[in-house]
Amino acid sequence: MIFEEFNPSEDKMLKIIDNDGRVVRPDLFPEISDDTIVEAYKAMLFERVADEMAVSFQRQGRMFTYPPNKGQEAIHIAAGNVIRENDWLVPAFREVGLMLAKGVTMKEIFLYYNGNEQGSNFKNAPRVLPINVPIGTQLPHAVGIGYSIKYRKKEDVVFTYIGDGGTSEGDFSEALNFAGVWQVPVIFTIQNNQYAISVPVSTQTNSVNLAVKSVAFGIPGIKVDGNDFFAMYLVYQKASEHARTGKGPVLIEALTYRCGAHTTSDDPSRYRTKEEEAEWELSDPLFRLKKFMEHKGIWKENEEKLREKYKKEVEQQFLDAENFTPYSLEDVFDYMYVEMPDDLKKQKEEYQQFLAWKGNRK
């Protein structure tokens, strides 16, 4: 079993293809069709195009702050290939490709970063939670959902995400501890992209790696090359099989790199070197998967054309978000409660009176 072979206490890491797309562990290569591989690559490409465009929309002043996820696509698309319709996704905020795989649309994501809560009202993804901003607080939610699943004797699994920095929050440890005690079907993924804004992992913790934190909670943990699509695919297959068959939670550390800025407000040149960035570029997940496909001769598409097609799709989604129903006063008040208190109704009315006064005044 991979969870035994890749013991995080010994700082081992699961890796199936190298930076040049060559298979280094053929014995571990997952069962996966060529078609699936090609489609996965396309999904990663789509995620990347969408991300680049999001950054550029923000630059154009058409969107507020946005956190890019360039470089982390293998994790998302591998999970997207394993996660089932009835499985739950409890995201942090950098899992766009996986959210798309679950039915969230770029329009919704743009709407959210455009400052409209309707962007969290995923119409076709009832089992995806909104993006979670207060770091770490999402993990107990995942565990609670896991409890519901177990309570109802279902075979669903919860996928949940956190960053390397997030592992320092108390909620991270509390959630993993509850998951261990309750033996709930939750797959925790730490996207270790090396930084929490400007703070490197070495300032975040003194543990040998992040996967090893699983030991404190008595759950299996494994460190994986997060830029290796096949390694991530394998680990998600094994982890979801584990969770789905009642064997409890799993902690995955996916080693990756945040190629972009923390958000569009951040300037990484203040805290990391060009050399470091260049080195990580060598293990870019798209590059590696493409190389693999080329070696195998299964890549037949024209990437530039694909890019153009995706750009148009993303553009349309963005326009749809821009042209979304204008934000109304109802949007401020009407979702606060299932049963709105009278006080709140009155506050709304009073504000409407002010608006009327204001209208008359002009």
Partner: protein
């Protein structure tokens, strides 16, 4: 029934009636809670529905959010008022916001119960009245009953509410008051205050364990010829403005009685409401008979901090004589 029994009975009824209800927290399972509020429920409904959790309030509440949005109706216990704070971030960032954040896609039908208040000679952090903190948070409803009957009816309403509820139980009167309470199911509406005694000279607003103290003060007031209208708030957020307005239009005078520190409190809010709703009727400055802006002292100091009937009477008299 005592209040402990009434709450137990409410949980029992909802556990029996609704398979989605689960009850958990520190020591609530095997021993039935440090105050025995959940006694016997694990035996009756099994350890999957009534259980002990690890010692971590943030995760207790945070897992409750996950359960609630996936269809369960968790009723979680914070062992004491002062130990609800480790979960504060989950409460303010998620419990109260998930419905709004998801535009109604997810509901959080969750109850967070805890014993609150002083007067039992407890150790530090076991005597707090944090209602103002929770009532300031939009998205929550906050309840504090004053009798076994109300505790039962309000708790059933809270469990049935699709909005999250903070349910504060006045531990000081957990066993101090006995009352006939029907073992049948009944509910009491959230957000409605109750006029316990009608009167004409002054309106006294209180809740929880302070109601009994007010009633004792009213004996003194009666002797002094003062007619007090006593309102039990029952729900602290949303406050029942209507009941307060009607009363103040009659009496023109307001005394708020609560255990918590007085600044930025339920007392402040009630005075603001009195001004907004009945300014022209006010004949004397509303008064706050509340805790000092100090930490509630350990047992030996409670004699100063806790509100006594005498002190309530003193303030009532001042208000009426103004």
């Amino acid at each position: 029934m005592t209040m402990v029994q009434a709450i137990n009975n409410a949980l029992d009824i909802k556990l029996a009636e609704d398979g989605n209800v689960v009850v958990y927290g520190e020591d609530v399972g095997v021993v039935g809670g440090v105050f025995r509020v959940t006694e016997g429920l694990q035996k009756k409904y099994g350890a999957e529905r009534v259980f002990d959790s690890p010692l971590a309030e943030s995760a207790i509440v945070g897992t409750g959010v996950g359960m609630a949005l996936s269809g369960l109706r968790p009723v979680v216990e914070m062992q004491f008022d002062g130990f609800s704070y480790p979960a504060f971030n989950q409460v303010i960032s998620n419990v109260s916001r998930m419905h709004n954040r998801s535009r109604g896609r997810f509901r959080i039908p969750m109850v967070i119960r805890f014993p609150y208040g002083g007067g039992i000679n407890a150790i530090e952090h076991h005597s707090e009245s944090p209602e103002a903190l929770y009532s300031h948070i939009p998205g929550l409803k906050v309840i504090a009953p004053s009798t076994p009957h109300d505790a039962k009816g309000l708790l059933i309403s809270a469990i049935e509410s699709d909005d999250p509820v903070i349910f504060m139980e006045p531990k000081r009167i957990y066993r101090a008051i006995k009352q006939e309470v029907s073992t049948d199911k009944f509910t009491i509406p959230i957000g409605k205050a109750k006029v316990l005694t009608e009167g004409t000279d002054v309106t006294v607003v209180a809740f929880g364990a302070m109601i009994r103290e007010c009633q004792r003060a009213m004996v003194m007031a009666k002797e002094a010829g003062i007619s007090v209208e006593l309102i039990d708030l029952r729900t602290i957020y949303p406050i029942d403005r209507e009941t307060i307005r009607v009363s103040l239009q009659k009496t023109g005078r307001l005394v708020v009685v609560a255990e918590a520190q007085r600044s930025f409190s339920v007392g402040s809010e009630l005075i603001a409401i009195a001004n907004e709703e009945a300014f022209l009727h006010l004949e004397a400055p509303p008064r706050r008979v509340m805790g000092f802006d100090t930490i509630i002292p350990l047992a030996q100091g409670e004699k100063y901090f806790m509100i006594t009937p005498e002190r309530i009477f003193y303030e009532i008299e001042k208000t009426v004589k103004f």
